[in-house]
């Protein structure tokens, strides 16, 4: 079972904090990989808040191809951070050439596009680069989005943190998500590292989605840009969240109702039973199954945690005003926020969505049996 840790903070925090939490939970991951999502960035990236940032791993040739492509499309390179690696890679980590984080200014003509169209174009650009990389195996692109950096690598999280120098100030961020990977079903695959990301929405999971194939088939056929190339059964959680928010225009509170709908006894007495019945029926192919704890971050930097219908995975949220964290285990919380009021730690159960808004003031619990906020 993978271990997850995410934190949301009023003040910028070093990504190494999250890795330290993973280190505390080391019994639960086998060091087969780490994935990090950083947003609400401090440091130099904060100056380019509206410009897309490309995160990925490149060979020299791949980097040249990428630059040629981006220049050809009219992108203007701005700030660039290359993670200069120290010495040789730790055991289990393959040697790579360039870990790139590059800010781009989009082509001039994009300015006339509506925001939705710009978002679609950014996603298409990422997909094109991904396809180019798959073709020649010279680049892996994780994200291309404003105010988002993603880093993934195979190996032990702490070793990689040191190797890539993830404690550098340029990477300080207010929203950090990290997964220490326990490889089970699939071969060790860089792209299968969580978190997964699409259009400002990121999520990571520890668990196994046994309904993966029907959900993947359904999402792939919905004609939405980016619902493709699945590498992990958990990737569909990110896309279901995206589908909920962006395609259906519903709020985060509806997400749990889509992935694990209420059963009849609760539904019949729910004030929104008509809407929820419609949702349960029409989104039936998005119902997840198996043990899963999902932690996610929304475009507005809200962070949340939900559990599967049976609450088969551990998950805890706690902290103090200004700094909250979501963790697979409480020892992860202890590592990062030892001075919190532990009596207020909360373990979301099968009906709960635990939500921390970007102001980091409190943990809000939304139970499925509560009325839904008005859906816009």
């Amino acid at each position: 079972m993978c271990r997850l840790f995410s934190l949301t903070s009023r003040d910028p925090v070093s990504p190494i904090k999250a890795i330290e939490a993973l280190e505390m939970m080391k019994e639960g991951h086998d060091g087969s990989g780490i994935g990090i999502f950083l947003s609400d960035l401090a440091g130099p990236f904060s100056k380019f808040r509206d410009l897309p940032i490309l995160s990925g791993i490149f060979t020299q040739a791949g980097l040249r191809r990428q630059e040629d492509y981006m220049t050809g499309q009219g992108f203007l390179p701005k700030y660039r951070l290359i993670l200069d690696v120290k010495d040789s890679p730790p055991p289990g980590t393959p040697p790579r050439e360039i870990y790139l984080i590059q800010v781009y200014e989009p082509p001039q003509k994009w300015q006339s596009h509506a925001p939705e169209e710009r978002e679609r174009l950014m996603t298409r650009t990422r997909l094109t680069l991904r396809h180019m990389g798959q073709e020649k195996e010279d680049m892996v692109v994780f994200s291309f989005w404003p105010d988002v950096i993603m880093i993934k690598e195979v190996g032990d999280p702490m070793d990689i943190g040191g190797y890539l120098g993830l404690d550098r100030e340029e990477l300080f961020a207010r929203r950090i998500m990290a997964q220490g990977r326990q490889n089970t079903n699939y071969g060790i695959n860089l792209n299968a590292c969580h978190p997964f990301f699409i259009q400002g929405i990121a999520s990571m999971t520890n668990g196994e989605n046994t309904a993966y194939v029907p959900i993947r088939e359904y999402l792939s056929a919905q004609d939405v840009v980016g619902y493709e190339g699945y590498q992990s059964d958990s990737e569909v959680f990110t896309h279901i969240l995206h589908f909920t928010l962006k395609e259906l225009g519903l709020s985060l509170e509806a997400y749990k109702h889509i992935i694990t709908p209420l059963q009849d006894s609760d539904l019949l007495v729910h004030p929104d039973r008509n809407f929820l019945t419609t949702l349960r029926q029409s989104c039936r192919r998005l119902i997840i199954d198996g043990p899963n704890c999902v932690i996610g971050c929304l475009p507005d930097k809200t962070m949340f945690m939900v559990q599967d219908r049976k609450k088969l995975r551990p998950g805890i949220v706690g902290g103090k005003p200004g700094l909250y964290a979501f963790s697979s285990e409480s020892c992860g919380l202890d590592a990062v926020i030892p001075d919190r009021d532990k009596t207020k730690d909360f373990q979301p159960m099968h009906l709960d969505t635990a939500i921390v808004s970007p102001d980091c003031e409190e943990v809000r619990i939304c139970r499925q049996t509560q009325p839904l906020p008005l859906q816009h």
């Binding site: 046994t210 088939e217 419609t278 029926q281 039936r284 049976k310």
Partner: protein
Amino acid sequence: MQTNAAVTPSTLSRRDLPWQISWDIHTCTLCGRCTAICPVNAIEPGVFRKRSISSPAFGLKDKPGSSFSVYHGIRQRTDPGYACVGCSMCSLVCPNNSIEPVKSEITDMLRFHRDRAGLPRTRGGRRNNSESVLDQIKFIRISMLTDPALDAGRHEFEMRTLIGRVLSPAKAIKAQREKGWMPPVREIYPLLIGGMSFGALSPNMWEGLQMGVAYLNEELNMPVRICTGEGGCPPRLLRSRFLKYVILQIASGYFGWDEIIHAIPEMKEDPCAVEIKYGQGAKPGDGGLLQWHKVNKLIAAIRGVPPGVSLPSPPTHQTKYSIEEAVAKMIQSMSMAWGFRVPVYPKISASSTSLSVLNNLTRNPYASGLAIDGEDGGTGAAYNVSMNHMGHPIASNIRDCYIDLVKLGMQNELPLIAGGGIGKNGNLAANAAALIMLGASAVQIGKYIMQAAAGCLGTEGDRCNICNIGRCPKGITSQDPRLYRRLDPEMVAQRLVDVYVSFDTELKKIVAPLGRSTSLPTGMSDALGISDKGAAERLQIKYVV
């Protein structure tokens, strides 16, 4: 017969028949029960003459000679019209276990003589072939250590399915907000009792099934639904609250629909759905058939026909001349009859043309599903040739249709109901789960219910199969009160409940190890494997050896 008697082409010996009656003279009490109960008069009391030869020892006065005696026993008739069907009712009633039919191991000659007066063999039953691809499918994706296995006995399971046109999420939310029309959708148990008509089944059988279904719904909270088949519906049921558990079937003979239409204003509940039968797996391209033997006064009254005549439904709906007419207009008409509150879906026999029908339905907003009946489907009466040789296996047909829906992104919108041969060898839950994982939203069964809930004697070995002539020895498919009073409706209801409750446990025993409990695993093809490479490729599931 005498050795010099005339032999006709159809003169057969006992050995030429598929079943031989084995009778034990030493234990037989000559009570006559066996000859009384035989549904086809294959056995009769016999008077046998026996000659005894005496050959005294040499030198005595007595000369060699012979004497004659008479004994009584059971004689098996060899006339093709009275051949034993192997039902074993004689064995059932024999007090001393003195008699039983034995299946011949050699190819019988009877098959060449079952066309007297130019009438090919008709029968009820099934395809009489025990091969089953569904039986070969294994569930291979077992969650053990990669995630906690579920407990079939203690965890909660949500195994219901949807019948009805399910709108896409965006359309459904829009319709909800704008208070627009939402197609009716029923949440039901995924194992349906398929269409077996009042007429094909005896009144006791029908009553037992309806009682069992009502019990499952009202006492056990299992939303099981039963289809009427083409034969109308008893007037009291139409006007009762139990109608909501019933799927009304309309087929090309429209039998009973005068009564149904007239009952609409008096209905307390809407029916669960309306099934328009265009074809059935047992006899694709052929209409329903109720032979005159079974059309008594009651059946005739419910169907609105004169008694004592055979009722062959036409192979197609006579007023329709194209798929648009046949499907679109009929679906719309039936929907309109209940104010668009009742799902209406067609049932077809599995065929290489199934995809065309499906594609037509995807564009029809009123179509609520598609039921497909494979070649192993059963029937109360059909031509032998239709049953044995016509039709398409269900597994690949349902898979093709599901994959087609996946390509269109409509796999949640138009439910597929699979039928035909599910549980033909007794593996009901495994076959049903395999079809669901291949893409069916629900499965429907008929023969299995007759066997398990009523004791039907039919097997895949051409046993009994006389449903068509109303001589069912168990009273399941007979309209003769002397026969159907053998069947206690209460016991049928109880057995039906047993079948469903045990099926439910077995289904959970399959899905729990696969880590599924939150929803029915429709289309979970990654769980399936088969050791036949061709089948694996065709069904797009894993090849495992």
